[in-house]
Symmetry: C2
Subunit: 246 residues, 2 copies
Amino acid sequence: MSGNKKKYKKVVVLLSGGLDSSTLAYLVAREETKFTRKLIYTLTVDYGQKHRIELVSARKISQAISSFSHKVIKFDLTMWGGSALTDGKKHVPVNRKYKMVKNEIPITYVPARNTIFLSFALSYAEAIGAGEIYIGVNSIDYSGYVDCRPTFIKKFQELADVATVVSVRDRHKIKIKTPLINLNKAEIVKLGTKLGVDFSKTWSCYIGKNIACGRCDSCKLRLKGFAEAGVKDPIEYKEYPRFYKP
Amino acid sequence: MSGNKKKYKKVVVLLSGGLDSSTLAYLVAREETKFTRKLIYTLTVDYGQKHRIELVSARKISQAISSFSHKVIKFDLTMWGGSALTDGKKHVPVNRKYKMVKNEIPITYVPARNTIFLSFALSYAEAIGAGEIYIGVNSIDYSGYVDCRPTFIKKFQELADVATVVSVRDRHKIKIKTPLINLNKAEIVKLGTKLGVDFSKTWSCYIGKNIACGRCDSCKLRLKGFAEAGVKDPIEYKEYPRFYKP
């Protein structure tokens, strides 16, 4: 065994339990080299989302990739709402046309969510001495979320470079990694399939009951991805959009 | 009464209940003009700090300035610690020389704390439609905290400009304001005195018992500020450093 010659490298992976971040987690887990063993610290955020059932998925995926540690940081964004995902009075829209889903800023946008998520990941990474933070943003199929764009990530990286002691004093920069940023949903499904992601453990539906609705934006984007990739989505849906044949 | 001619302007003020942010809150409250009435939304962060007694001070100061709303967002940074303020196994240092306090990165530095605080303030500001976020950072007397420097604030502003829908789509930028950034503690005490800040309601001690210790870095910096400003600190201390005559 040459195992003890390996260098350990700590990384933080933001994991919601959805299609994208689960594929990302598998990808990171596979990216070990002969000389480097990754210690994956998955970080899940319980922010008061209606679909908190995704937290269960995050735990399952974290176990599936044998992460070194899985933490759930909890806070309550329903305090100020501003999104259909965190405000009881705002309804998650269903059955919207794909073009609308693709181009509009939806009511499910949560103010500054990824800024908050990355801030926690940055704090965590600095505290444990991790050099990389992975986040599964992608800007192809959901341009409505401004904090999924490459520009946003670039600016967060610039902030991170001056925001922590390790980066300023120790010149040990914490890198924000976004390997999925230029992939569309079909490409993510294909990549996940190749990596052996157990999609049955993932959760995407915004409505958040025990069975995915098949009608919200998130279900539709997911099913469109599976349809285009020619892969069967193993999770059950209450109903299916016309473009997907179960 | 010409009151109803006034324009309302919402602002978010990050308020810890300490000397700096309390003075800041009073300053913001005083900055109303003839034509603009400010609605001040104070935001306090309960992050698992040992000196959580400061939360009581934050509430008192918020009441004293008649803020429109006071919210406390809660999460648990003791989950990963990394600081003497959030890790039960790390002790808050006491009786350090002023030069050390001034120049070293202290063990009380909390990884990426201000990045997290500003992220929440940004989310809150976007959700309620506020145009300004105030934070009481100052980089003169505590250069060890990298996330109190003008460079950090500048980078956070650049991030904020691309991170929210209001800034990207509506061109309604949310401004990060730091009126205390170039003041030292004595100048902040003088400013607070001029503004009528009730310093007896504020709390700075890191140890966080019922009486301030007078020995931790935060107590010493505070008392040094009062001493240099020639103002009596109205709060009680367990003991006093040599340079301060109670």
